[in-house]
């Protein structure tokens, strides 16, 4: 009797797992089905073929008539949803708009989907989005998962503290110091290396992290300086201290094997730099000229 119960539970779990997996598989199939109306161009099956010539990913986006980009909705200066207008605005958004205009001739042919540091790679892999433009640092580890464009923003990790805090640089982070970060971000891994004795609290997004800092749940918040400047501009009781202690180049990510899309993005970024448009964009959002 007891044995049969366990067997039944095991079978039920197995069935559930298989069903879930089957669901995932189907979704992916659908997406590639849409992507390659002309056969033989399954991007995941032949990444080398895609890079050799042809533009299967770009063609798919063009035939859909819409570029879908994953951006942050909670990050000041880069991608922030304005609660009154409902518009998402920021540096990343302007880049996305520029890309849509370049590719489809109209910046309104752009769909923005909210991603977090935690969800962006799974969403890209599932085919929910074409590109990630979401303050995403280029790392060797992530290069295994996605294809990155050239650097579109040079950031570095820094610290945000309440004014008058004894913590003025990364060297002041001692055992027992509570450091706040965001789940899935590079900065959490970095701080664990730079200050191994610190307790690292992790939250789902930057708003939650900043709220926790304001509530006194931690002593210092760490992430890329660009994001910290946005927070400091939101609440003047907080300041960015200690300079940057890492190099965190932001890149635009495409699904692995979509070489044509990456090449297109790189071409657009180069054009942006050459025309001086990039510097204007940088000043508009960050309030300074780009670090050379």
């Amino acid at each position: 009797m007891r044995k049969r119960n366990w067997l039944a539970i095991g079978l039920a779990m197995l069935a559930l797992t298989v069903l879930t997996l089957a669901g995932c598989g189907k979704k992916e199939e659908n997406n590639t089905g849409v992507a390659s109306s002309s056969p033989s161009q399954s991007s995941s099956a032949s990444p080398s073929g895609a890079s050799a010539g042809g533009t299967p990913t770009l063609d798919a986006i063009k035939s859909r008539g819409k570029l879908v980009v994953g951006v942050k909705f909670d990050t000041r200066l880069f991608g922030l949803k304005d609660p009154s207008s409902g518009n998402v605005e920021g540096f990343d958004i302007d880049i996305a708009k520029g890309l849509a205009k370049e590719l489809l001739g109209d910046e309104s042919k752009l769909e923005l989907k909210e991603v977090t540091s935690k969800t962006r790679i799974p969403m890209l892999d599932n085919g929910d989005i074409d590109l990630i433009i979401a303050t995403m640092t280029i790392t060797e580890e992530r290069k295994q998962q996605v294809d990155f464009s050239d650097v579109y923003f040079k950031a570095g990790q820094s610290l945000l503290v309440k004014k008058g805090s004894p913590i003025q640089s990364v060297a002041d982070i001692k055992k027992g110091t509570k450091v706040i970060g965001v789940k899935g971000s590079t900065s959490v891994k970095n701080i664990a290396e730079k200050a191994p004795d610190a307790t690292v609290l992790e939250f789902d997004n930057y708003q939650d992290a900043f709220t926790a800092l304001k509530a006194g749940q931690g002593d210092v918040l760490t992430t890329d300086n660009a994001i910290l400047y946005g927070m400091a501009s939101q609440d003047s009781n907080y300041e960015v201290v200690g300079g940057t202690f890492t190099d965190e180049p932001y890149g635009i990510a495409a699904k692995k094997g979509n070489a044509d899309l990456v090449a297109f993005v790189n071409g657009y970024l180069k054009k942006l730099h050459d025309s001086g448009e990039y510097d204007k964009l940088y000043e508009k959002w960050i309030g300074a000229t780009p670090i050379q």
Binding site: T17, R142, G184, S185, E202, D204, Q217
Partner: protein, 217 residues
Amino acid sequence: MLDFSILTDNFGTYLTGFGKTAYASVLALAGSFLLGTLLAVFRITPVKPLQWIGTAYVEFIRNIPLLLVVYLFFLGLPSIGVVLSPFACGTLGLTVYTAAFIAEAVRAGILSVPKGQMEAARSSGLSYGATMRLVILPQAVKIVIPPLNNQFINLIKNSSILSVISGFDLMFYADRIASNTYVVFSTYIFAGMFYLLLTLPLSYATGWLERRLARNY
């Protein structure tokens, strides 16, 4: 399909989170059971002010999201100068939230004991308190066990709310493993199995208790 290296490579991490989840669950389970029973007694006692307190508590807490209850501790308390650790906030939130549901389950159990039992006990000279303790509650217990089991299972699963406020529970570490390895599906499936390690024995234990008590009467 399932990447078992995730489990073997991160076993210690899973175990740390599992320990915290189990610890939070046991604390919240004991706390919410006591608080819930007290509230149930408040709600059925003849003393009006106690009834009001019980009803207000249950209706307020039961009808707002758990996350909000946890935020009351995590973000609300600091505004009056009390800063508790995320783990404490999460466990307190769970306790307070689950107590409202337990109060209702216990109250229903007590009310399902026939009215004549109370009348008979009172007329043979027992006080209200003694009647509750000696006559009504022992009979209510076995009625209450299945719904309580439900609430306890919900409590264990709800403990994943700790991950939102960085409470270092199983889900928190699963998030961390997923973001370190990018293997999302397997990571959470294994986390789910650790939750089953807690919830299934609990179901079996209460099932056993239910059968035991049924035999005694």
